[in-house]
């Protein structure tokens, strides 16, 4: 991480996250729970978030399958742009924890932080290129008013050069953060590094 960004309550710092209810005790976990934690995320066995979701292991398995296929699959929309869209959704939904994680991923992939600073400052005008602006606008529209999204919204993405396969990846990225943000926001809270 090249520089610490703190704008309007959002940050690219590494945060911790604490569950509000009891999490699965890893020492007492079943072999199935262990297997699903391991396939969900490299650090899942020491993460309150995954240890909480492990209360329903099969549901976690399918959530992780969807999440990992959407965020990491090769081809389609460049991964940096998927991260940008998820940072926008997290900013709109007010999920400080998710925004911090995906701000970092964007920087790792894009080697810059300019678009993320804009998203934290004012998502509605964010984007350093016409293509980024269109991705940001679509992310906001599908997050806030999914029933109003129409073929015109698709046309705006086509106009800046997105293929249908990229548009599908964008739809999935926005949608999976409607899911992820709601879990992070309602099951616990971010913990900030002590000053």
């Amino acid at each position: 991480m090249s520089e610490v960004i703190r704008i309007k309550g959002f940050t690219n710092e590494t945060l911790d996250w604490k569950a509000w209810l009891d999490v699965v005790d890893i020492e007492q976990a079943t072999p199935e729970q262990i297997a699903i934690l391991e396939e969900s995320h490299p650090k899942a066995k020491v993460s309150d978030y995954y240890l909480f979701l492990a209360h329903q292991p099969e549901i976690l398995r399918q959530r992780s399958a969807a999440f990992n296929a959407i965020m990491y699959a090769p081809g389609g929309m460049p991964r940096a742009e998927r991260e940008l869209s998820t940072a926008v959704v997290s900013r709109i939904n007010g999920c400080v924890y998710c925004a911090s994680v995906h701000a970092q991923r964007f920087e790792q992939l894009a080697k810059r932080t300019d678009a993320i600073k804009q998203v934290f400052e004012e998502p509605r005008t964010a984007g350093t290129t016409e293509r980024e602006k269109a991705i940001v606008q679509f992310s906001i529209a599908l997050t806030e008013q999914p029933d109003q999204v129409s073929k015109q919204n698709i046309q705006l993405l086509k106009d800046v050069g997105l293929t249908e396969a990229e548009i599908l990846d964008l739809i999935h990225s926005v949608a999976i953060f409607a899911w992820a943000n709601r879990l992070m926001l309602n099951l616990g809270e971010p913990v900030f590094p002590s000053a």
Binding site: A66, P146, D147, I154, I167, H172, A175, L185, N186
Partner: protein, 175 residues
């Protein structure tokens, strides 16, 4: 010859309710991401069809219906309303929840769950620790709360995939 009015049964809910058919732009684009298609349907099956001890399918469908009504997602309101009818839930309750309220629901625990759903769909940042503790004191276990939180969050995802694919279908139909 008898003509049946019901469409052929398709395993994939999104393809069925959006009318996505092989050869169309939206269908062919969507099915390039097979793992996502499969995990989406498997999640729905687990959350809204499979048995979860202590959480009847009809209660979970009512949560899904309220979430879709508030989003809103007319396609999924119709879908989950129909499934609730098949579970014997009265039209009065289905109609009310389809409009985003639930005053006719008598069960205290279910009312708490629907209140929680309302918050999480309309203003997710307002969900707090007190809301979870209230659910616990209404008699739900942590396992129940995990399943419900996943259900509400999943429906938020499903209706947005649906809205995006619907727009892609409309776009494909014009070109």
């Amino acid at each position: 010859m008898t003509v049946t009015s019901s469409p052929p049964i398709q395993a994939d809910t999104l393809d069925r309710i959006l009318g996505l058919t092989p050869g169309s732009l939206a269908f062919e684009t969507r099915h390039q991401r097979t793992k996502v298609v499969d995990a989406t349907q498997s999640s729905e099956n687990l959350l809204l069809d499979s048995p979860i001890e202590g959480l009847p399918v009809s209660d979970r469908l009512l949560v899904a219906l309220l979430a879709c009504a508030l989003t809103p997602s007319p396609e999924f309101v119709a879908e989950y309303a129909q499934r609730l009818k098949n579970h014997g839930i009265t039209d009065a309750i289905i109609d009310e929840v389809s409009r985003g309220t639930f005053s006719l629901v008598q069960d205290e625990r279910l009312k708490q769950v629907l209140t929680f759903t309302h918050t999480l769909i309309t203003d997710p940042i307002k969900a707090d620790k007190q809301a979870l503790l209230k659910l616990k004191s209404s008699g739900l276990s942590t396992e129940h709360i995990t399943a419900l939180a996943q259900l509400i969050a999943f429906v938020s995802y499903q209706v947005r995939v649906s809205a995006g694919l619907k727009a892609l279908k409309a776009f494909g139909a014009q070109s």
